[in-house]
Symmetry: C2
Subunit: 248 residues, 2 copies
DNA sequence: AGGCAATGCTTGTATATACAAGTTGATTGT
DNA sequence: ACAATCAACTTGTATATACAAGCATTGCCT
């Protein structure tokens, strides 16, 4: 979805032969989506692409530059071009809690894995995750702490067939999110934000009274792989900052 | 802010003379921000910029192209380059209610102006709107209806000195939002989403029980003009969809 | 071994040119 | 008066070239 849509901006009807730079973009996106080029991997330089595709440097450059503008690649003068890390991508930052941003500048931020199990697949889940009939789902709850205080509870549903070793991992050195982001390649998602009253067992985890309103952020991936859908419940009073947009 | 930040990506320390294409970007942004070039206005063509700034066409083109990628301009082969309409900008769509999207395809969507008055400026408001001491504020509540049902209440604070005729307008032909977007030029904003329990008089307007959790979206402009800050309260069950981002 | 300089590779900026393709408005012929 | 054609202008794609600037390694010298 990521690559296909990017290119469809330029070639509308598809009967015309695609522009050369879109072909290169496609090539790069496919390698990233398939996992061939993981995060931080070095992508071919402008000169290498120039030779591979028999185009001028400016044409190869355009492909790299547009993908950089989309946050898929990161370029460094003198060093090269690299696949963007999920940290270097603005997407997650846009939906992260404000307190997370503060915690990056010094405060500790620990995530505690609470629950990790394979669960039965309901019809709703199957649709949400775009599952086939015989695929299983892992469910996990991750309680995020900050200075000992629980600030958000993450409910994560993962397509088991796509991360078979998920249950075996020991998430001490790397976080489960880092693991997922290394296994699951770049994809596209929408976020839905809703105000809810948390149910009882979640209230206990977040240490709040039952009447407190909570933000729930539900992420749905749209990729054909349908890896994961997750909901994040924040403790009351939390705010989500949605980055800077041009408005009015 | 819109233009300054865009260019700061390229010239970090500023002691180096800025790149030519950033000068052109700055020029264009300033004309848009000042209102000189309103929405849908035609901006100079590549050839005109080439002559004005004494650069090659590719350099002028780069400025136009980068601003187009940011959604500030819209280009049409054969016709020209134009200032993007707020409708053609993705920003508002990203923060709009899902039911709004549905209503665009046929359903009626009426906004009812409820209240429109000048109010006293509290300290909090002054900071929020970046006001000087002697500036006034207009406060208005707009109840958005859909099929007769109230779906969201917009609380809007406008810097009175910047839209002096706001009180005099009769918002029947154009909506107040359309009026603001025509008066207030393109600017940058952040959105903060929070879950709240609506206070009593808001509950009456939205026709909900008091214990229902509501989404509150607060928008803050960061431009030096500090025109408007608004909060949107949605009725319970509403979801906000945050567009597509690349994740993981 | 440690520090330093040179070198090659990388991306960044800029220009000049050519042709393709879409839009618009004027001109021309019926 | 109307319609078709044409010309001018616009953006889109592509190439070739040049130099500037940042990074990393190599290898030399001390």
């Amino acid at each position: 979805m990521a690559s296909a849509n990017n290119n469809s901006n330029n070639s509308s009807t598809k009967k015309d032969k695609p522009a050369k730079y879109t072909v290169i973009k496609q090539y790069i996106c496919e390698n990233i989506e398939s996992g061939e080029w993981p995060q931080n991997a070095k992508v071919p330089s402008e000169n290498e692409l120039t030779q591979q595709f028999d185009v001028s440097r400016m044409t190869a450059r355009r492909a790299l530059q547009e993908l950089t503008a989309q946050g898929i690649l990161v370029r460094s003068q003198g060093a090269g071009t690299f696949v963007a890390t999920f940290k270097s991508q603005s997407s997650l930052l846009k939906i992260r809690n404000i307190s997370d941003e503060i915690s990056e500048r010094g405060h500790e931020h620990k995530a505690e894995q609470l629950l990790l199990q394979a669960i039965a697949v309901t019809d709703e889940l199957a649709i949400l995750l775009n599952l086939k009939n015989n695929e299983h789902v892992y469910y996990s709850e991750i309680l995020h702490l900050e200075n000992g205080e629980p600030i958000q509870l993450e409910q994560r549903y993962v397509n088991a067939s796509l991360v078979p070793e998920y249950l075996l991992q020991n998430f001490t050195k790397i976080t489960s999110h880092e693991y997922l982001s290394s296994v699951a390649p770049l994809t596209e998602a929408t976020h839905e934000v809703e105000a809810v009253l948390a149910e009882q067992h979640i209230c206990q985890l977040l240490n709040i009274e039952e009447i407190a309103p909570c933000l729930q952020v539900r992420r749905r991936t749209w990729s054909k792989q349908g890896i994961v859908s997750l909901a994040i419940l924040t403790s009351p009073g939390s705010k989500y900052r949605l980055g800077s947009h041009l408005v009015f």
